[in-house]
Symmetry: C2
Subunit: 162 residues, 2 copies
């Protein structure tokens, strides 16, 4: 049950991270991670990209306007913000992953998969960088890959034995 | 349609942020935001808390073991990491919201609501800090509140007119 009537309509809709170059990040999150690019919005100095897994295939038959509206009515959306120019700025220092000082705070996003070993074999074949392979360290049932900006993505099994 | 057979099982399960004091953050995310505390796991030096909206009321009838397992089989989960001791460490500097240098990268999480004005009136009554009230700036249809660690939470309407 929703905890209160006032919050009954609430959903954890999206998580926003900044990316240096959408020409690198969009193919990573679509071709490698498997999300769909649902919507993009040029805001002048920056562009927002909204991505999500199309589990039920509903996006295939939607118009772009329907997709633009639908992006706030579900959970599990990833918003990428591209501040124009970072992709070609030689002085751009890159973004913080949030996992070291200064800048510690945000940790990672996580993708659930049926088979972590199999998913990671595919990531390896596709040249994805790993922070932690399943065989590294003590927690053999999970992995951490790195997105093009160095953000950590945890790969977790749908049913975890803890 | 899922983009590839290999990624058909994938879900954007959770987002992890570190928090200084769970005794402050858990009541914020449950009582004010309306999520349920689904699972917690003491890992020795740190404890993980998993929260999510219980939209269909399915958690109410679950055992704790069922909830522990269920937390990786859905989207929209928030994971809070508490490194033990930060809550009482006078030298602890706090976490970065990701929105200023050094440490820029992560931007915010977002909660969809039916009525942004009404949700924000309630947040104000409950003493929540705002980064941007609906009446501030040009984007009147959205707001940003701050969680106890200063992370930004965007409040967005389910159907946005852009």
């Amino acid at each position: 049950m929703p905890r209160t009537a006032e919050t009954a309509s609430f959903q954890f809709n999206h998580t926003m991270i900044r990316v240096k170059d959408p020409k690198v990040s969009i193919p990573f999150y679509t071709d490698i991670i498997g999300m769909d690019l649902l919507s993009e919005k040029n805001m002048g100095d920056f562009t927002l990209y909204f991505l999500a897994f199309d589990h039920d295939g509903s996006y295939a038959s939607m118009t772009q306007e329907q997709k633009d509206k639908a992006r706030f009515s579900r959970e599990g959306v990833l918003e990428l913000t591209h501040n124009h120019g970072t992709e070609s700025d030689a002085n751009f220092q890159g973004y913080s992953s949030g996992n070291s000082d200064p800048g510690r705070g945000f940790g990672h996003i996580a993708v659930t998969v049926d088979d972590v070993e199999k998913a990671c074999e595919r990531f390896e074949k596709l040249g994805v960088a790993f922070k932690k392979k399943p065989s590294d360290g003590k927690m053999r049932h999970i992995a951490f890959i790195l997105d093009p900006d160095g953000y950590w993505i945890e790969i977790v099994p749908r049913v975890m034995q803890l």
